[in-house]
């Protein structure tokens, strides 16, 4: 069915599970989670709860390109290691 060399073929609602397929959700932030490494005990609750999977399991690093600033990590953190600070944009 796909005869041509170019990519014109079926148009479908397929989306591939790739990083950032919902766009740069970091653009949505009004408040930004900031981790205090001193207080973090690497329990990984934030890693479990983050709805955008922007927190790494190794080293508990926040990927600010995709963190949308929802603040769930700060609420769930049992040691108070994550605080939400006002985002400075542009």
């Amino acid at each position: 069915m796909i005869e041509k060399d170019d990519d014109i073929g079926y148009i479908n609602s397929i989306s591939l599970p790739i990083k950032g397929c919902a766009g740069d959700t970091g653009e949505w932030r009004i408040f930004k989670p900031v981790k205090d490494a001193e207080k973090c005990n690497e329990c990984l609750l934030c890693w479990i709860y983050c709805p955008e999977a922007t927190i790494s399991k190794e080293g508990v690093e926040i990927d600010y390109q995709y963190c949308k600033g929802c603040g769930i990590c700060a609420v769930e953190c049992p040691t108070g290691a994550i605080t939400m600070v006002k985002e400075e944009k542009r």
Binding site: A22, T25, E27, W28, R29, I30, F31, K68, G69, C70, G71, M84, K86, K89, R90
Partner: protein, 186 residues
């Protein structure tokens, strides 16, 4: 006809603000229309809302592409807002501080009104689930700059059923928005 397009983030109350604008126009005896365009319906996701006010019944059903007033509730939405269409005869109302507004007035082809609505909302204690309710001061600023009505109209609209927060705090934030909106000049 006066047309407004609002660009906001889900949870900031942009859709509600568009309906408030319509209510204000309606209170002054005009025909009005207000509608949203919902995207992913996720908290924080970009949202658009539209309002029209006219002396005559409104037959337009399409979105607003050359607004008399373009409202942007967060500076990083500005590029997307402009790419959706603007009128050089129209105005931009943006939620930001003076420094950024002045810089933008050099780059942007429209006259700019600005208001630091986040600070106003937070000072008034108007926050909902971690989102400052910027729609209250911005709504107030729209009513003033678009000359839709007086501050009494703002009070009447906001005195209706609200649900979130203390009505006195609403009024404080609305008053600051009405009086605090400025024209950006280089």
């Amino acid at each position: 006809m006066y047309e407004i397009r609002v660009h906001g983030l889900g949870g900031q109350g942009s859709v509600t603000m568009a309906t408030w604008i319509a209510k204000a126009g309606y209170a002054t005896g005009k025909h009005v229309q207000a509608f949203p365009f919902f995207g992913a319906e996720r908290r924080g996701a970009p949202v658009k809302a539209f309002a029209r006010i006219d002396e005559d019944p409104i037959n337009l059903r399409s979105q607003v592409y050359d607004p008399d007033l373009l409202v942007v509730t967060s500076p990083n939405l500005l590029d997307a807002a402009l790419s959706d269409g603007f009128s050089e005869h129209g105005h931009l109302l943006i939620n930001c501080g003076e420094d950024l507004a002045k810089r933008l007035s050099g780059e942007c082809k429209m006259d700019i009104f600005y208001l630091d609505a986040i600070s106003i909302a937070m000072d008034a204690g108007l926050e909902y689930d971690g989102m400052p309710m910027v729609n209250i001061p911005l709504f107030s600023a729209v009513i003033k700059q678009a000359e839709i009505g007086s501050f009494e109209v703002v009070m009447d609209v906001l005195a209706g059923p609200s649900g979130r927060g203390n009505p006195d705090d609403y009024m404080t934030a609305a008053r600051k928005g009405f009086e605090g909106v400025r024209v950006a000049k280089l």
